[in-house]
């Protein structure tokens, strides 16, 4: 069905289609619309989930852990400080190998209070063992949320998935949305290690160094296997519903001399900048980074690279720039832009490319170069 929706409502619509057994969530700007819409679905009888309106984000993730381990599909949504407040349980969910799906509406962190888009919240959870995907359109928010359940619940993965969408820039803008009839795309939830009183086991007890070490390796092994699972699920989704995605969304990259790498809505905005630059005779392309964990292989050989980070690792550099540098050996031009919702237009992005300084870093509107 074709309609129009905000990014938040698209996520809620996907959750409705996925029919989780339990949804536990706490409202936080700009995620609030997701949990409100889900509450409306449950109240109206359109979604037969147990909706647990918890008293905090720490409890939201704890309740999801209990529910997922108890044997049902589980969803929550958060943002910014909410995500940081649940950080302990974010680690726990991955360590317990529970396929929880969480929408995170990317937002800056205080102080000062700032409710606008930034990726520091998600990247602060980089090493928790969660898969992370960043979306750029309302449609993609819907599609990625649906696929997230299937990827997380695949027995080769059994890790939680975070679906990231930019606060306000995507969460509150309206675009067309085509909802799908899922059919049997999502199989019934089956957790091989679900709590079962017929087979009493102890979960998460004291664990010695050797076993603990092996469990960590198992997470990494599944993270590696997840690349193939993501590809399989996205391929099946494309076959069934006609929309295809990949680890990156590449735009006019084939013959590009300079490639822009960005995340979320800035990655989409970059496509407009690429058209502008091409008109000027600059052979530019863009690779919008969709999957951040597992981190994709990027083919950047022989190209200049401009990385736009809507985040920063203080004392070290842009998170994406560092990842690109580490994984490819390319020294990018690192632009820090869009923090706290700073407006970044396609003209700005085009200017980053025209005025690039490989190997250097600049803070848009604050430090040198731009």
């Amino acid at each position: 069905m074709l309609t129009i929706a905000t990014g938040n409502k698209a996520v809620a619509a996907a959750v409705k289609a996925a029919k989780p057994g339990v949804i536990a969530a706490y409202p936080i700007t700009p995620q609030t619309e997701i949990v409100e819409q889900i509450a409306e679905y449950v109240n109206a009888g359109d979604l037969a989930s147990q909706y647990i309106p918890v008293e905090s984000e720490h409890s939201a993730m704890a309740a999801c852990i209990g529910a997922s381990a108890g044997g049902v599909r589980t969803f929550t949504a958060t943002s910014s400080h909410g995500l940081l407040y649940m950080h302990e349980m974010v680690h726990w969910a991955a360590g317990a190998r529970l396929p929880i799906v969480m929408a995170n509406v990317n937002r800056a962190l205080g102080p000062g209070w700032n409710t606008w888009a930034e990726h520091s919240d998600a990247f602060s959870q980089r090493d928790t063992g969660w898969l992370q995907v960043f979306v750029s359109t309302v449609q993609e928010a819907y599609d990625a949320t649906l696929m997230a359940f299937k990827i997380a619940e695949d027995e080769r993965v059994l890790l939680p998935v975070m679906v990231n969408l930019d606060g306000f820039a995507l969460s509150h803008i309206m675009q067309s949305l085509e909802t799908v009839d899922l059919g049997d795309f999502l199989p019934p939830y089956h957790l091989p290690h679900a709590v079962d009183t017929e087979n009493p086991c102890v979960y998460g007890p004291m664990t010695g160094p050797d076993d603990y070490f092996r469990f960590r390796w198992d997470i990494e092994r599944s993270m590696r296997d997840a690349r193939g699972v993501i590809a399989d699920v996205e391929r099946e989704f494309a076959e069934r519903f006609g929309r295809s995605y990949g680890p990156t969304e590449d735009y006019r990259c084939e013959d590009a001399d300079v490639v822009v790498i960005a995340v979320g809505t800035l990655g989409k905005e970059a496509e407009v900048a690429i058209d502008l630059l091409r008109d000027e005779g600059i052979k530019a392309g863009s690779m919008r980074l969709r999957w951040f964990r597992p981190f994709p292989d990027l083919d950047l050989a022989g190209r200049e690279v401009v990385v736009i980070d809507r985040d920063y690792s203080f004392g070290f550099g842009g998170v994406v720039a560092n990842a690109v540098r580490a994984k490819t050996g390319v020294e990018p031009y690192s632009v820090i832009a869009g923090l706290g919702g700073q407006e970044v237009t396609y003209n700005n992005i085009a200017e980053f490319v025209r005025n690039r300084h490989p190997g250097e870093e600049t803070w848009f509107g604050v430090s040198n170069h731009v």
């Binding site: 536990a24 720490h58 704890a62 209990g66 979960y203 007890p205």
Partner: protein, 293 residues
Amino acid sequence: MSAIPKEEYLFKCTSACAGCSSSLCLRYVLKAAGPDSVLVVPACCTSVLQGIYPGTAMNVPVYNIAFAAAAACASGMSNAFRSLGKETNVIVYAGDGGTVDIGIQALSGAFERGTDFLYICYDNEAYGNTGMQRSGATPLGARTTTTPGGKPTAKKDLDRIVAAHNPPYMATACSAYPLDLYKKVKKALSIPGPKFIHILAPCPPGWRYPSEKTVEMGKLAVKTGTWVLYEREFGKLSISGPSKAAMKKPAPLEDYIKGQGRFKNISPEIIDEMRQQVERNIQRLSREEAGIC
């Protein structure tokens, strides 16, 4: 005692300390709950005594969870089971630290939401798992490793906090009265909604008394009126048998204090204040039972 099943759900040779009364309690809790039960356990002595992976001392599933998260995790699990049509008992078994301090927000949330579960706090009045630091449940005057001069403030009144949530069932119990505990767990699990049992669990290394005196210590707590056994069922309070007589004529408070190293060198003024606390508590509960409040 013939009513208590022979089946064991807590096996022998756990890594609990000698004379551990909370593991004694757990044995009876599980006998009362039976095999269709899941324990949710935050960081506490129980997360240690169950053994090291891949072994377990428990014959029911145990879900270990982070310190602050037990009630919320149980909330999710209970909702999951109920949505699957399972009647499985979901029981939090948490120490006083995970209940009165770091876990109280999750506890309050789960009770307010009406979660169908039983929350049991076994209270040894300190952070036993980490070597006896003070908790919010440590009583006035008790020495712990973080209150070496004796705790300057009173024990947090957890039961009144829980009572303010109006759960359909709440009770106190003591490890020295296992049959009373067994019956209370049975009754709690027969009632839908959030239930709460607060068990006083004397701790030999923490309270600094010989391990063979653990039952005696619990009995002294009840006989002196320091710990009152009662139930509050749908708001109606009834004092339990062992406390009935004790409350009419409490044994001298000194009988309870003198055997415990944690109260060594306690001042007469602090003892007097403790005595007043005991009297106030007995009066308050007696009035409530008589319907005067």
